[in-house]
């Protein structure tokens, strides 16, 4: 074994109910990831920890299931012509650097303010990013829906940035855009940093690709899967080097998530473009509420507030359930929208055949 951490690691004994729980959560997480490009795995780490899995093993096993899931999802969506591999690989490369920067920031905070300070930093980052970006994405989705669908216009910021001829300029055929690499790097770094902080880089990556780079939400969410694959593979190699990956947990989650990710990818071909923004915005805002409820615990630990222990415990539990609720709401919207659009298409085909 490598590194000091592995000495104390206890891998849990699995039973049938644990296995079923992981497969179901994996399926729902995979469904959301396949549809919006990321964001389906954030429940898994706390979910595994609630089964008694040590935190580091939960993070490592979760990461180890994320990259093959992203690989399968991106292959599926590539077949639908939605993935820009070149953009995904460039983003992934710089996001990997962002992950390393994020880890260093975490280390500094951990040394200065301890575990509670680090947890508080994570929660604040969670709430701030999710509220700001989530409300923007959600508002945009509602605006497009009210205007009767996607007009095909690029966001103003993206259109302006694409006009700036700053060497080196790159053309991304699948995404249908040409932009300077200098505008891709900050988005990719922020994605990586967020991934290192809250484990879901896609909450920055997908909106960044849509509003800053100028890709459509379908292409952005599909390309994010390539970014997630690159980041996940790098992260898994590091965790596996320290012997932290519980392959049994990984494979159980993967068992459910590969069903989900394929279904989510299929769903993107049926729904309108703004639905991706709608699902993403909804999940982000509900998760923001969840993390907000988790903050009093860390504030108490840092002696900033003095909430009663009972209340703090209740809020922590509620926080986890709200997080599960966010995932379920996202999955429900995807399934309803997909099957509704599918039945409409089938009815149209039948009408054409009979006429």
């Amino acid at each position: 074994m490598h590194g000091p951490v592995t000495e104390a690691i206890q891998f849990i004994d699995l039973n049938l109910s644990y296995a079923i729980f992981l497969i179901i959560v994996g399926f729902i997480g995979g469904l959301v990831s396949g549809f919006i490009g990321s964001g389906g795995a954030f429940v898994l780490t706390p979910g595994m920890m609630s089964l008694g899995v040590p935190g580091t093993v939960a993070v490592a096993s979760n990461m180890c299931h994320k990259f093959p899931k992203a690989l399968v999802g991106s292959i599926k969506r590539y077949r639908y012509g939605q993935v820009d591999i070149k953009l995904g690989l460039i983003m992934g490369l710089f996001a990997e650097i962002g992950v390393q920067v994020g880890i260093q920031v975490q280390k500094v905070i951990l040394e200065k303010w301890g575990q509670a300070g680090s947890n508080l930093y994570v929660s604040i980052a969670f709430v701030a990013v999710l509220v700001i970006v989530g409300s923007f994405v959600f508002r945009d989705a509602i605006k497009i829906k009210k205007s009767g669908g996607d007009t095909g216009e690029k966001p103003r910021l993206a259109a302006r940035l694409q006009k700036i001829e700053l060497w080196p300029m790159m053309t991304f055929k699948r995404a249908g855009l040409r932009i300077s690499v200098w505008f891709i790097i900050p988005v990719a770094l922020a994605t990586g940093m967020l991934a290192a902080t809250i484990a879901v880089g896609g909450f920055i990556g997908v909106p960044g690709l849509m509003y800053i780079i100028g890709a459509t939400s379908i292409v952005a969410s599909a390309t994010e899967l390539v970014v997630a694959f690159v980041m996940g593979l790098g992260g898994t190699l590091i965790w596996a080097y320290y012997g932290m990956v519980d392959i049994r947990l990984t494979l159980l989650i993967l068992g459910g998530s590969l069903f989900g990710v394929q279904l989510g990818a299929i769903g993107t071909t049926y729904v309108k473009d703004y639905m991706i923004k709608f699902v993403m915005g909804t999940i982000m805002l509900i998760v923001a509420v969840s993390r907000f409820l988790a903050m009093p615990k860390y504030l108490n630990e840092l002696s900033v507030t003095s909430f009663a222990d009972n209340n703090v415990s209740l809020m922590s539990q509620t926080s986890f359930y709200v997080m599960c609720f966010a995932l379920l709401v996202g999955a429900a919207i995807i399934l309803i929208a997909m099957f509704k659009a599918r039945s409409e298409e089938m009815a149209m085909e039948r009408a054409q055949a009979s006429s």
Partner: protein, 275 residues
Amino acid sequence: MGTTADNGVMQEKTAQVTGLNKSCILFVTKRTRPEASVMESAINVADRLGSKIIVACVNTRPHLQAEQQLSRLRVPVSDQNLEHFRLQAQSRGVDFACIREDGKISRVIKRLCHIVKRVEFVIIDREIEMEEAASGSTVPIFSVVSSELRSEQIGRGRQKQTFFEGGNQMKATSRRRYFAKTLVFGAMTAALYGIVFAYQEAIMHYWTKGGIYALLPVATVFVFSYAHGSFTGNFWSALGIEGSKASSLKQKTSQATISDKATKRPDTRPRVQVN
């Protein structure tokens, strides 16, 4: 991919008809003998529109040795097969040319639309997917599905009905294929899961050793993602849950358009003008 020699032959042959400055219908097939009903429909349409026909026989797998041998054998057979259609077209005053191409259907169509002048639309033969053809085309694509049964019922000479029937039959065949694949990959996945959980103690011992052993979990998930990913993909297809055809076609067509736009970069080079 078409070779230079192929392009030369193609240009020579197309020159015979392109010089006439007529609009052109491109007929694309990857079969040794084009489907007679589809070919006849194409000749009918060309006759009505006063267009010429260029038949592109595409070898989609030129690098396979067996295909190369087949391709060599095919040449005279294919010519013989097309002779009937050539005579048919000539009897109706339709200019007819045949060319041979190698490579992907989408690329061949794109290339031909670029080289041949005034291609009005493309008609694809059976066995060519609409999505596959549309991704490379800058002109409309049509497929013709004829029903011998219906034409017999109509029973009026050469009149043919073109309609999208047979879809259900095709769906049933492909569903059976997906179902068979689901069973194969499902068995493979079950075996893999069985092995992991039957020998979980030994596996956990080596897989958590760290260091160079880090490659073991990574390799494991790659193997599982292949077997289980194929299983789940075929599973949904066997249930009839597949991506929207209309949407994927739209996506590919719009991407073909935007990719052309994206590659156009502004020419900022300085120029000297002499008056």
